[in-house]
């Protein structure tokens, strides 16, 4: 499978300079007496060409962290740099445009639009960017076919299994060739076999030299797919594992 990228020709891919860097990120919810700080001065890096897993127990702040990295939640303090763009400085339409052009999302519940077919769902990011509908659908069909859904292009989400819906969601995340893929518990709604298949597909289709992929999960079964693991606890980075093969999954 090949998924072309928008990165400039000859763009340098380096593990030394991160594709995404967070410095001193702080986030609180509530106000006054019920102000709860959920992210405490977090520094973390995500590198292009890798699948980075963000793990930790429920409530540790990993979802809040990726929401801020993806620009759908605002950090109270600190700086988040995504491929050279300081996301924390973007606001309003510029932030929406940044997300539209640079980020692909894969959600735990897939969040496909029930009234649209698999092809139409996968084509949404292109149509949102203003691409002609027939061209967008054509590109979505090609990608879905490469993800093994050629017989299900015209089916609606309710006619697809959980694994098939997740593949449509993966296609929707990749179709506009974003530089950064954010996955939130992509295997949580799938059985073991479907989860492994989805992660296989995700790794093969999404991980590219000039693209960063970050997966939030606490599913131990998918740790083997990681190139790098960042473990969080109580709103802080607990440890970073650069060689997950050495990690004891238990």
């Amino acid at each position: 499978m090949t998924v072309a990228m928008n990165a400039p020709a000859g763009a340098a891919i380096s593990l030394v300079s991160p594709a995404i860097s967070c410095r001193g990120v702080v986030k609180s919810f509530g106000s006054g007496d019920v102000l709860i700080r959920v992210i405490h001065d977090v520094d973390l890096n995500v590198f292009a060409g890798q699948m980075t897993l963000l793990i930790g127990p429920s409530g540790c702040g990993k979802t809040t962290m990726i929401s801020m990295i993806a620009g759908i939640l605002t950090a109270d303090q600190g700086e988040i740099d995504v491929f050279g763009t300081v996301v924390t400085k973007l606001k309003g339409d510029r932030l929406v445009k940044f997300r539209r052009e640079n980020i692909g999302f894969i959600f735990q519940q897939f969040n496909l639009l029930p009234a649209l077919t698999a092809t139409e769902n996968a084509a949404i990011p292109l149509i949102v960017q203003g691409v002609n509908e027939s061209r967008a659908n054509s590109k979505a069909r090609d990608l879905l076919a490469r993800l093994g859904l050629e017989k299900h292009l015209a089916k609606y989400p309710t006619q697809l299994s959980g694994g098939q819906q997740q593949r449509v969601a993966i296609a929707r995340a990749l179709v506009h060739e974003p530089r950064f893929i954010v996955c939130d518990e992509p295997t949580a709604s799938l059985d073991a076999a479907s989860g492994r298949a989805a992660m296989d597909l995700l790794k093969a289709a999404a991980v590219k030299p000039d693209r960063a992929v970050i997966v939030v999960t606490h599913d131990h079964r998918v740790f083997s797919f990681a190139d790098r693991i960042i473990s969080m606890s109580d709103g802080r980075v607990e440890r970073t594992i650069d060689d997950p093969s050495q990690m004891d999954a238990n």
């Binding site: 979802t63 990726i66 929401s67 993806a70 759908i72 939640l73 339409d93 929406v96 445009k97 997300r99 539209r100 052009e101 980020i103 999302f105 959600f107 735990q108 519940q109 969040n111 496909l112 639009l113 029930p114 949404i124 990011p125 949102v128 960017q129 929707r172 939130d184 939030v216």
Partner: protein
Amino acid sequence: MIFPGRPRELGGTIEINDRRAVVAALVKSSANFSANVTIYTTYARAVGFTNNGRNQLSFVVGRAEEGVAPEVVARRISQDTNLRARTNNEFKWDTINYILANTGIPASFGAVIGLGIIVGVVVAGLTFNMFVADNIKQFASLKAIGVTNGTILQMVLVQALVVGAIGYAIGLGIVAWFFDTVPKVAVGLRGFYLPWEIAGGMALLTVAIMLVASMLSLRRVLTVDPAVVFRG
């Protein structure tokens, strides 16, 4: 009332104020608003039937000669006789204005229509609210992906207008069928019809109801935090 216990038949005789009258024709007219019987006859016979002389007649129906404008004839009659003469259209509006000014019909009909509008807005608004609540994660996903509020606004409004158009077409079809069919068998509904002004007015009202109903729900869509997509 005219033919008690007898079939209605042409050529039959009836008695009106002790005078014999022969039925020359039966008119399939619309139901009389005041429930009085309407008898069509010549002026001379009408004076005779009423027993009260010509001064007690409520209306005399006349027809202008060909080529003469009814308005001109009506003005001339008024000038010459000092009686009120009206054309067909003026008489219609006199009747309507009288009913509006002197009866409770505008208030009662207005209350029914107003209630219908309120029920329409509430039902459509609740339906839209349920639609939005059921799809809030999908809307949030679209916002996360980069869909602007303006595009979401267009999506919801198009949906509202399509739903409204379908509902309007079905409703208008039922009403048109009713007015076309039922008055043929229900004498009391004769004369009921569906003027284009009512159909057009209902279309505008439907659009207004759908806009108000969708606006009430849109606030929720436009203010939804895209971060909810990551919450379970």
